[in-house]
Subunit: 293 residues, 2 copies
């Protein structure tokens, strides 16, 4: 059993990598038929019907860089790296989560992928190797150092993150960060580091954050997460002991929850000690998967 | 069934992230007991017995940056970012593959993780956001922009890559790149992009490289790959058709191989049209997994 349809996945875009490598062919597609995803900073802009607003390339700022997202129905789709975004760190928009929930999954996926790419361009103006300015290349799937002596090529980041359900005798370990709303708990998570497998990263993170040793790590499903550009890798693991030693620099609290508690929270019951994670997050789907086992 | 022990995984190092965040405690560990992994550029240096050579911090160049790898038996282990490496692009060493095969898996893992980190520091001297110089922070698990007006934090990259066995009616699709030795074929592979799940990336890559549509993508196992810093995510997928349209910019050839051909090649038979991938690569373990099904 897999986790099924999930937010930010399922974009119906042909990511045509031949076009990225063929500036002439890509140039031919940049005509009046091409579509421009309208953004407010990095946030989506909505039509009166609540769908994503698309414009044409004529709507782009003359000094914007254009990122080729892919083809839909033979039309090229772009997003713009507006000059005002360059070097910015994209302040969080508190209304974004509500706005996102208005989008269909398919539109959420297109916007999410565009957000990751545009944000990467905004924050990668210079060559990490030599410090010279970089310029957009390959339709936005690369930046190239402008210094002839260097010429380094840089690629958009995707940061793999493990997120795991830890189980012990039928109960699940969930934790909360101080920034969460009261009683909201979620699966433990952490970035995979150089030199680790997915399974090793799961074991290390759970030991670091909760002091629990795990075994039998199983992959369940994955999700692209565009804040800014993570790949969430959902797993299940088994703990031999329920004893917790919480790292309070990472987690405010962590507890073992029964199947009944998880089922009630996932059914929308807000009377218990657990509020379920938002359906946009893979944690929600991992819990659904677990309840269905 | 999982893929079992694999090269570059299984480093017995406690990656103590509290120490990374505690410069004073880390400083206390940087005494005469601390171990320095000796490197020749990015390559391992061997003892007469063929194991990794460790020195002390006194062996480091006075202008080297030091990366904290973790603890073994309570002793802190470091690797140095030698001044000669700064800005370098680590030319391939043709003897490296033979040298690596002399190391135990555990030592290979320690060196592989160190290689990824040291290489990242060597090639990330400047702030991608503003172009100012950066300095090592958090024991080498971060670089910080030195410009007060910016102060951006940068983290080592891990680039997730899908590598997949595509099966159709009992035969496996394997391809070869022009740089491979004659008759060597391996699993198709490609970088996961922003806005994709693992499963979507598998389907896109197989379609792009071989013109084949796949379904039922299953995760099998993962491997850290330190050239320079990939996370190989091994999968299996099913194709409904055997018809191939090869992208010759990516692959020189691709063919469907029978179970008998794969079994013979994996047993070391060099008389057929297939030579098995090296045991260091996850592709080898994926094929072993497949034969055991």
């Amino acid at each position: 059993m897999t986790i099924g349809t999930i937010a930010f996945a399922g974009a119906r875009l042909e990511r045509d990598d031949h076009l990225r490598n063929d500036p002439e062919a890509l140039g031919h597609l940049m005509d009046w038929r091409a579509r421009l995803l309208m953004l407010d900073g990095l946030d989506p802009v909505f039509t009166p019907e609540g769908t994503l607003l698309w414009g044409t390339l004529a709507d782009a700022h003359p000094h914007s860089e254009l990122v080729f997202l892919g083809l839909t129905d033979g039309r090229a789709c772009f997003a713009e790296v507006h000059p005002s975004l360059r070097g910015s760190t994209a302040p969080a928009n508190p209304g974004l989560w509500r706005a996102m929930s208005a989008l269909s999954l398919e539109e959420l996926a297109i916007w999410g992928g565009a957000r990751s790419l545009v944000d990467w361009h905004a924050r990668h103006r210079f060559c990490a190797r030599c410090g010279a300015p970089t310029k957009l290349a390959k339709g936005g799937w690369q930046r190239s150092c402008e210094a002839e002596s260097c010429g380094a090529e840089h690629f958009p980041r995707v940061d793999p993150v493990t997120i795991m359900l830890v189980e012990h005798e039928g109960r699940l370990l969930l934790g909360r960060q101080p920034r969460f709303p009261p009683r909201r708990f979620s699966a433990l998570a952490g970035f995979i580091e150089p030199g680790e497998t997915i399974e090793e990263a799961v074991a290390r993170e759970v030991l670091e954050e909760a002091g629990v040793r795990v075994r039998d790590v199983r992959y369940i499903g994955s999700q692209p997460w565009p804040f800014p550009s993570s790949l969430m890798i959902g797993c299940h693991a088994v703990a031999d002991s329920a004893e917790l030693t919480i790292d309070t620099t990472e987690l405010e609290e962590a507890h073992w929850f029964t199947r009944e508690e998880v089922a009630a929270a996932m059914a929308g019951d807000e009377s218990g000690r657990l509020l379920a994670p938002t359906p946009v997050a893979i944690a929600h789907h991992l819990l659904k998967w677990w309840l269905a086992q």
